[in-house]
């Protein structure tokens, strides 16, 4: 690309978009839901695993799985969605594993977060970035 004045302006605008928007989203998205779930407790790393595809062929139907050995409850958030909450799994007495799979909607490439409340009352989280392609010719 030739570095014309017009292109330089466009590139500048692009840089602002790239630098500015994700930071803003990261600061706010899901904060209320997380606070409500944890009661403000600190979230560490540990006994929680979130499995999601690296690339989703279509954001409409993305398979995910959460699993943990000792979770009593797992909250899943999609931080880049218009409304971040996805699902909350509460495991009952007869659940054989603290694991579940489902299919979710992702509005675009973004970070998906699973936060588990463990049996000892502590909170841990795992995140996964899913690239969403706008695949599939119209039809």
């Amino acid at each position: 690309m030739e570095l014309t004045r017009r292109n330089a302006i466009l590139m500048g605008a692009g840089a602002v978009l790239i630098a500015g928007v994700p930071l803003k989203v990261a600061a706010a998205a899901g904060a209320d839901e997380i606070a409500a779930f944890t009661g403000g407790a600190e979230i560490g790393a540990g006994d929680i695993k979130l499995i999601a595809p690296e690339i989703a062929e279509n954001g409409n139907t993305v398979p995910i799985e959460v699993s943990s050995d000792t979770a009593v409850e797992i909250l899943v958030l999609a931080l880049g969605n218009p409304t971040p909450p996805v699902a909350t799994f509460k495991f009952g007495k007869l659940s054989a594993s603290r694991a579940a799979s489902t299919r979710i909607r992702l509005a675009g490439t973004q970070e998906v977060v699973a936060i588990a409340k463990l049996a000892d009352g502590s909170f841990v989280q795992d995140t996964s970035t899913v690239k969403v392609t706008i695949g599939g010719c119209g039809g």
């Binding site: 799994f89 509460k90 009952g92 007869l94 594993s97 799979s101």
Partner: protein, 109 residues
């Protein structure tokens, strides 16, 4: 009641006492997110399945809160312990107040 809602579940017919089994469930439902607009630009109101539960002989296996980010035709897969012969009861709760349920018996080998 939303149109064309039909629950499907997959549970083994038999298991040994104390066995772990995998359960798959799916309910046909459009899961209207409340984010979409119709051709005239009006927001289509949210209409989703907002909760799912699975119980076995009165004991809970899993209780799930579903949000609009769950895909059309909600699919859930999880594992249960089968302590004895009995019946799994699956229940889906719709925003419109409808409750859909289905059950599956399981025998001990």
């Amino acid at each position: 009641m939303a149109k064309g809602v039909k629950p499907r579940v997959k549970v083994p017919k038999t298991a040994a006492a104390g066995d772990t089994i995998t359960i798959k469930t799916l309910i046909s439902h459009k899961m209207e997110s409340g984010q979409r607009k119709d051709d005239d630009g009006n927001v289509i109101p949210r209409s989703i399945i907002n909760r799912f539960t699975c119980d076995f002989n009165g004991e809970n296996v899993i209780d799930v809160v579903l949000e609009p980010a769950i895909s059309t035709n909600p699919y859930l897969e999880f594992e249960a312990v089968v302590p004895e012969a009995g019946e799994f009861v699956f229940t889906w709760y719709d925003d419109d107040g409808s409750v859909y349920d289905t059950s599956k018996k399981i025998a001990i080998e």
